[in-house]
């Protein structure tokens, strides 16, 4: 107790007080206790209009964000681009317990929903599937797919708990499902486990070894207490095991799985994947979709290779197996390739002389002058020299990935990207991209021939970027991925020509 340090006088009647307090605590309802522990009133203050507002801990937030930014820029690990993840949700009797409000399963569903959205935002080409555990069996709720909405709808429609959970049945099912996916993908399982036991039909150790052999990375988030078998499974397969303390910790633990994990060494060799960019079918066209085998009117996409119709992207064509994506899907990962530079702190001499600084933030027009202290809290972009408020700084680097200042002035350098059908793509985005002639169905033409297929691009070298003098870095650091392909169908054109500094 904190009180112990408070001196001699306190000690004298310390025991009595403590007892009283415990008595009080017992009389408190759970909801009262929550507020009492939270001390939420301490984080309120009045603003200039007399309304209650949260305490301004902007500076603190900003410091945390700067730390994140620094750690992100120093550790540049190769990350797996295409992930195949099954989320296994325990809906056994234990999920009905009410230690989380209103119940474990509702809280878990809420967190899974948030996780799915975040996951697709960070892993645009990856796919998720849902599996539930109840009544001793594992059931596949949704197949691997790239549409957040369909997963969320399926989960919310199936929310109810009964029976026991079987970890082994769940792993067996996921193992069979993940065995079908192409070898370049990262296979992962995330298990949200409420139960304290597992009710298995056979030897779970065998299943764990099977998963290890299939290179399936298993992670578990427990909702009650640490269970040895869960810990063992995660250790063996290279996953992460954590036990949630409360709802906010659960949320944190779940979201930790959204960023791509470091690529497993064996998969780190970059290999090229054929990808197609389907056209959106015109409205009103009637066709039979190849994924649901149903007659659909309008919408949908047409596979560029076999002309089959699929309902959603990204997916794999059910007829010819081509990975189908849309260019916006690819574009979601570009900000990893072209990150914007961190903003600089404004020098103290300028800070104390607010007249030399602009009055408002370039991004949001908010006044940069702090009304209380008459000092200025802002940062500036090293490239365009515009000033931004601390909130915009965080938003720009963590969500927008554009500097409004740099974008608002005509630049001589820019990144040009062309995407069209039949391109190849590497599975390791920070890795060097090799053009593997043997994987291509036709002889690779000389580079000059290839280049003539790409209007506007004048020179290309596999070993060195020759775009201009700005970047003659060897592509080991891969500042410029260059994607090429030469199939027996439509000829590629995804070129990222780089003129960024």
């Amino acid at each position: 107790m904190q009180r112990g340090t408070n001196g001699e006088g306190r000690k004298f009647n310390g025991n009595e007080e403590e007892e009283e307090e415990e008595e009080e605590e017992r009389n408190q309802d759970a909801w009262e206790k929550m507020y009492a522990d939270d001390r939420s009133w301490e984080s309120l203050q009045e603003d200039e209009y007399g309304r209650l507002r949260h305490v301004d801990n902007k500076a603190l937030h900003h410091a945390q964000y700067r730390k994140r930014l620094r750690s992100a820029s120093t550790t540049r690990i190769q990350k797996g681009l295409i992930r195949y993840l099954y989320i296994v949700i325990d809906l056994s009797r234990a999920a009905g317990e009410m230690d989380y409000k209103p119940s474990r399963m509702v809280v878990v569903a809420r967190q899974v929903e948030a996780f799915i959205r975040e996951f697709f935002d960070q892993n645009p080409l990856s796919q998720i599937g849902l599996v539930i555990l109840k009544d001793g069996v594992a059931q596949c709720l949704t197949d691997l797919g790239g549409s957040p909405e369909s997963h969320i709808k399926a989960l919310l429609g199936k929310l109810g708990c009964s029976g026991d959970a079987s970890l082994q049945n769940g792993l067996d099912l996921v193992h069979d499902l993940l065995n079908q996916i192409p070898s370049y993908g990262h296979r992962e399982v995330l298990i949200l486990y409420s139960a304290l036991s597992t009710c298995d039909p056979g030897d779970i150790m065998e299943t764990i070894q099977k998963c290890k052999k299939a290179k399936i990375r298993c992670s578990i988030i427990g909702l009650s207490a640490e269970v040895y078998i869960c810990k063992y499974l995660c250790q063996e397969t290279g996953g992460v095991y954590s036990v949630a303390l409360d709802e906010s910790h659960l949320k944190e633990s779940v979201l930790e799985h959204a960023p791509p994990p470091p690529a497993i060494a064996e998969f780190a060799v970059s290999n090229l994947i054929k990808m197609g960019f389907p056209q959106r079918a015109a409205e009103g066209v009637i066709s039979i979709c190849s994924c649901h085998k149903e007659i659909k009117v309008g919408g949908g996409y047409t596979c560029p290779r076999c002309k089959a119709r699929v309902c959603e992207l990204p997916t794999e064509c059910c007829i010819c197996g081509l990975t189908l994506v849309s260019s916006p899907h690819l574009a979601r990962s570009y900000h990893h390739l072209f990150p914007i530079t961190p903003f600089d702190d404004v020098s103290p001499s300028l800070k104390n002389n607010p007249r030399k600084l602009p009055k408002s933030c370039f991004g949001c027009q908010q006044s940069l002058l702090d009304p209380g202290s008459m000092s200025v809290s802002c940062v500036s972009c090293p490239k365009c020299k515009q000033h931004f408020c601390l909130d915009c700084d965080i938003y720009i680097h963590e969500s927008l990935h554009n500097c409004p200042g740099c974008e608002s002035f005509k630049q001589s350098h820019s990144v040009v990207i062309r995407v069209s059908n039949g391109c190849l793509y590497s599975s390791g985005w920070m890795s060097r991209i090799h053009i593997e002639k043997k994987t291509l169905s036709r002889k690779l033409p000389k580079e000059e021939t290839l280049l003539s297929l790409m209007p506007g691009e004048d020179n290309f070298d596999d070993r060195q970027c020759m775009k201009d003098d700005l970047c003659s870095k060897p592509p080991a650091a891969l500042c410029h991925p260059i994607f090429l392909s030469w199939g027996n169908w439509e000829v590629l054109k995804l070129v990222i020509c780089c003129r960024v500094q």
Binding site: S327, G363, C364, Q365, Y395, L400, S408, I417
Partner: protein, 235 residues
């Protein structure tokens, strides 16, 4: 900061309309004969005033998307009886400044305006509105765009689109130029906004009033134009 509006007055049809106006002089001089900038501006001002009159809590912010720069030219927050005409002096100043920054003597075709810049600024502004507390108007972005897509802006425009989608801000677009804009088609498709390329520019005001004046809540009940197909090309 805007004067405090009690949250209970902020019903679901109170809007924050961010209007991005393309002011690329090369584009406007190319269609001078058929649709002069002055005609465009008078239609837009009438539309903005109509929006302000629809609900007295509505807020309108205008950002000019120039050829060399972008800038805020109007913000109705904090103004009593705000009228959109009051943006004209600021707009004129912006245009002069934008023109003075030109370094090239000749431009290939009509060039492109800096859509990625004005979109980024609009999103920063909207984040500030989100930060202001629980009660805030429903934001949306309207791009009134004429210049062709700038291939060099693809990554930045896509980044802005995804950020808008994440914060559930719809991007409406009205294309004034001769060609469809693949960027804006994708922007409206991904964020759930309306994309329209009016066939007759003489009727621009009617298009603006019937389609783009609709607030987010009312869109649930109204049949707005549907896209005929989205061009997913990168550039």
């Amino acid at each position: 900061m805007s004067p405090p509006v009690p949250p209970e007055l902020l019903t679901d049809d109170v809007s924050l309309l961010m209007v991005l106006i393309d002011t690329n002089p090369y584009f406007w001089s190319s269609i001078k004969q058929s649709f002069p900038f002055s005609k465009f501006l008078s239609d837009v001002l009438a539309f903005l005033n109509a929006t302000l009159l629809l609900n007295q809590l509505n807020q309108v912010v205008v950002i000019a998307t120039g050829y060399n720069s972008c800038g805020y030219v109007f913000d109705s927050a904090g103004l009593v009886n705000a009228r959109a005409e009051s943006c004209l002096p600021e707009l004129e100043k912006f245009l002069k400044n934008d023109a003075s920054m030109s370094t090239e003597d000749t431009v290939n075709g009509v060039g492109h305006s800096l859509l990625s810049g004005s979109l980024s600024m609009a999103l920063c502004y909207i984040q500030r509105i989100f930060r202001s507390g629980a009660g805030h108007p429903q934001p949306r972005i309207l791009c009134l765009h004429g210049s062709p897509d700038g291939p060099g802006q693809y990554v930045a425009v896509m980044n802005a689109i995804f950020s808008a989608q994440r914060s559930m801000v719809p991007i409406d677009s009205c294309v004034i130029g001769a060609q469809h804009s693949a960027f804006l088609q994708q922007a409206s498709h991904i964020t759930g906004g309306v994309y329209l390329k009016p066939q007759l520019l003489e009727g621009l005001l009617q298009n603006l009033l019937t389609v783009y004046a609709t607030d987010m809540h009312s869109r649930n009940f109204i049949q707005l134009p549907k896209p005929l197909g989205v061009d997913f090309r990168a550039s």
